[in-house]
């Protein structure tokens, strides 16, 4: 039986480990497309996708756009400023107007937790969450998982510590769900003022000392420290943050094993991560970026009704036709076999 993803990708919390593995496996054949001289396959030819970004984003938006274009979808980018959103239009009206133009998918980035779900419940198009407030950023979580699997060959049993501002991080939440569902051991490390009070109840270990985390972990996922956390009084200074929680080469060299270091970007060099780590031998930060495109291609393909076992074949033809169905198969109505 093939587990369907359903209509939308809103987060990793609602997915099973099996569904997450399906996305990672589907991403594998798509990796190769980006290595070609002509980086384009006809898989999503004729599909219309709106990238609806209410928050500034370079990496995620560009990554989605490349994934869409390499699958031959027609895409439109809508940024919050310069659209009717800045004239006070509500999210639901924006969405309904877009849908009236008969689009197939919406990729949404929004500052409010739950915004992607809100949209998904109100329109029939597939909705992909590209980050909602401090809730989830599922494609980032998936590309982190893919990068870890590339490094270790498996995810089950590896020890991953998420370092930094977990309280405000959608990347942290998606990583916690994705990793635990795939059988990894997860810890967090950061100032207690930037960890949720109820963090223990999410099934993770807490380290107060980054050196203890480094001693324990196989991989570190270092979160960006938003500079406004300091002005809001969560931490006293960036200088102290770097001294207590910053990931330096010196610290990594004391580790009992070679660590893999991830960072979702954009980095504050010299704050949460030192340059010689970011650019050093342990860093897989650019692999994450490369994998991001493959993951997003896999998600677009699966939500559009593509069959995972046909992903390889889909690259040479119309994937949705190869899938023996169309958009109507995306809602989990696929035959069980």
């Amino acid at each position: 039986m093939i587990p369907a993803l359903g209509k939308d990708l809103l987060g990793l919390e609602p997915l099973s480990g099996e569904q997450i593995k399906l996305i990672l496996d589907t991403a594998e054949p798509f990796k190769e497309i980006s290595e070609r001289a002509i980086k384009k396959v006809p898989t999503l030819r004729g599909a219309t996708i709106v990238n609806l970004f209410f928050e500034a984003s370079t990496r995620t938006r560009v990554s989605f756009e490349f994934a869409e274009k390499r699958l031959s979808a027609d895409t439109v980018n809508v940024a919050a400023s310069g659209s009717s959103v800045s004239k006070g239009e509500t999210l639901v009206d924006t969405a309904r107007n877009l849908e009236a133009m008969r689009i197939d998918m919406v990729v949404i980035r929004h500052g409010a937790s739950g915004a992607a779900k809100f949209l998904a419940e109100r329109i029939e198009s597939n909705v992909i969450n590209a980050g909602d407030g401090t809730h989830e950023h599922p494609t980032q979580g998936l590309l982190d998982l893919l990068t870890l699997r590339d490094q270790f060959g498996h995810i089950e049993g590896i020890k991953v510590c998420i370092v930094g501002d977990v309280l405000h991080s959608r990347v942290a939440r998606s990583n916690i769900w994705g990793l635990t569902k795939m059988g990894a051991e997860v810890a967090v490390c950061g100032p207690r003022s930037l960890l949720p009070n109820a963090i223990d109840e999410l099934g993770v270990t807490v380290f107060d000392r980054v050196d203890e985390a480094i001693e324990w972990a196989d991989a570190l996922n270092v979160l960006r420290l938003q500079l406004e956390r300091m002005t809001a009084g969560y931490i006293p200074s960036l200088r102290e943050y770097n001294r207590v929680f910053g990931i330096s080469r010196e610290r990594l060299e004391r580790a009992p094993r070679e660590l893999v270091v991830l960072h979702p970007g954009p980095m504050n060099r010299g704050v949460e991560i030192d340059s010689d780590v970011a650019d050093g031998p342990f860093s897989v930060i650019l692999d994450q970026v490369t994998n991001g495109v493959a993951i997003r291609m896999a998600v677009l393909y699966l939500l559009s009704g593509g069959r995972p076992e046909l992903a390889e074949a889909a690259k040479t033809g119309d994937g949705r036709r190869a899938a023996g169905g169309g958009r109507e198969t995306a809602g989990g109505k696929r035959d069980d076999e």
């Binding site: 919390e13 509500t90 999210l91 639901v92 929004h110 409010a112 937790s113 739950g114 915004a115 779900k117 809100f118 909602d132 407030g133 401090t134 809730h135 989830e136 959608r170 939440r173 949720p196 009070n197 109820a198 963090i199 109840e201 999410l202």
Partner: protein
């Protein structure tokens, strides 16, 4: 106005420890008597209407000391007339309107306006609550004396909690002069800032900023201690945490003049209702945990929590139909309060009907020194009759309130109001 004989109902009146099948005779605007023989007093009276109340509970009318009727300022969301009729449909014969209107009800003219609008409403009685501070700005005291003369029954800055301990102290002292309670929305502003739901595992999962229990409890104990200092009457609004219940119990054991209310939603729902970003489960104080809910129920049972109030807070559909963090706080409650309380408290044997009526009628009257809350001979004819067993499905489109923002939509609740009489006039009637 005519005279009524409410015949054959189960009369439950905790103010006189009454729970028996009896008739209630209403002559003019007062209760003439309760008992098996009152029918004799009525025999031969012209214009006497007999209403069969068999199968119903007949009780003193419910009194809600905490609701938001939005007029003046937001008449598209609720008016005093629609609110008073919604109250009547919920079995309430009197409600107290919070002063966070626009403009703020902080002077005698504004209080007089509410009294006048209420007199035209043909629903429940409406008693204004005046603001503690001018403009609810938390700076200068409003004119309590003049507002009381105009008909205000309490003061509160509900919705904009009093941050200054000094202002609260002064308000308690000054209110004591006029014998009115100071009702406080307990919320320590720096802890609660930006919060959208209870702080806990659900807020951690949903990525929503939480409001810790302590934001309420710190202000609850501040107010209790200031009541001890001043001898003033502090009434703590919509208590939501176990800690608050314990602090109130502590205060009462020491003879401090503290009373407290809890809302039906805090006795029936937990933070889990927020899951899925349900904006109709967003209110302030937020829905808390199962442990808090258990403590609040204990508090209602043992009287630590004096009374149940709705915090009826209508909002426009569009305001709730949006991103969770941006949606306003509050739900409506007047037309579901009785059924929610019966479903979650009486049917599950947390309290019996007598205690429920005490907390919804007698205690509010006593605490806010209002008429009603009793069927004793000579009391105002404010009477409610309800079927405690009738089951119904909540359909907000049928509400008398303009508000539709309820978390109970589609749920089957038990207990339905059949008759509401205010001052001897039938203001609501819904036959089975």
């Amino acid at each position: 106005m005519s005279d009524f004989l409410l015949k054959g109902g189960r009369v439950v009146d905790p103010s006189q420890s009454l729970d028996e099948t009896a008739d209630v005779l209403v002559i003019g605007d007062v209760v003439q008597g309760v008992g098996a023989r009152v029918a004799n007093d009525a025999a031969g009276r012209d214009g006497l209407e007999t209403i069969d109340c068999s199968g119903l509970v007949v009780s003193p009318g419910f009194i809600d000391v905490h609701c938001h009727l939005r007029e003046p300022g937001r008449e598209e969301v609720e008016t005093i007339a629609t609110g008073a009729r919604a109250a009547a449909a919920g079995g309430f014969t009197a409600v107290c309107a919070m002063p966070n209107t626009d403009p703020v009800t902080d002077n005698q003219a504004a209080v007089g306006f509410i009294i006048r609008q209420a007199s035209l409403a043909n629903g429940a009685r409406v008693y204004p609550i005046g603001a503690i501070s001018v403009g609810q700005r938390g700076e200068a005291l409003a004119e309590f004396g003049e507002m009381v003369s105009a008909g205000a029954v309490a003061v509160s800055d509900d919705g904009k909690p009093v941050a200054s301990a000094h202002l609260m102290r002064t308000a308690l002292e000054y209110a004591r002069t006029f014998g009115i309670p100071v009702a406080d929305h307990c919320e320590e502003p720096t802890l609660a800032k930006g919060g959208a739901m209870n702080e806990g595992v659900v807020s951690a999962r949903l990525g929503l900023k939480g409001v810790p229990s302590e934001a309420e409890e710190i202000m609850a104990i501040r107010d209790i201690l200031l009541a001890r200092r001043t001898g003033g009457h502090i009434h703590l609004c919509h208590m939501s945490t176990r800690g608050s219940v314990e602090l109130i119990r502590w205060g009462k054991e020491r003879g401090i003049n503290v009373t407290a209310e809890v809302c039906p939603h805090h006795l029936s729902l937990t933070e889990d209702a927020v899951d899925g970003y349900n904006t109709n489960a967003k209110m302030n104080p937020p829905l808390r945990t199962a442990d808090d809910l258990a403590a609040l129920r204990d508090g209602v049972r043992d009287g630590t929590i004096d009374l149940i109030a709705t915090d009826h807070a209508p909002h426009h559909y569009d305001e709730k139909e949006r991103e969770f963090a941006d949606a306003p706080n509050g739900i409506i409650g007047l037309e579901t309060a009785l059924a929610v309380n019966i479903t979650w408290l009486v049917a599950s044997e947390v309290i019996d009907l007598g205690v429920l009526i005490e907390r919804m009628s007698c205690a509010p009257a006593r605490t806010f020194k209002l008429a009603g809350g009793s069927l004793r001979r000579g009391s105002p004819a404010d009477v409610t009759a309800f079927d405690p067993n009738a089951k119904w499905v909540v359909d907000p489109a049928r509400f008398k309130s303009k508000g539709r923002n309820t978390p109970y939509t589609g749920q089957t609740l038990q207990g339905r109001v059949r008759l509401t009489i205010v001052g001897g006039r039938v203001v609501h009637r819904a036959d089975a």
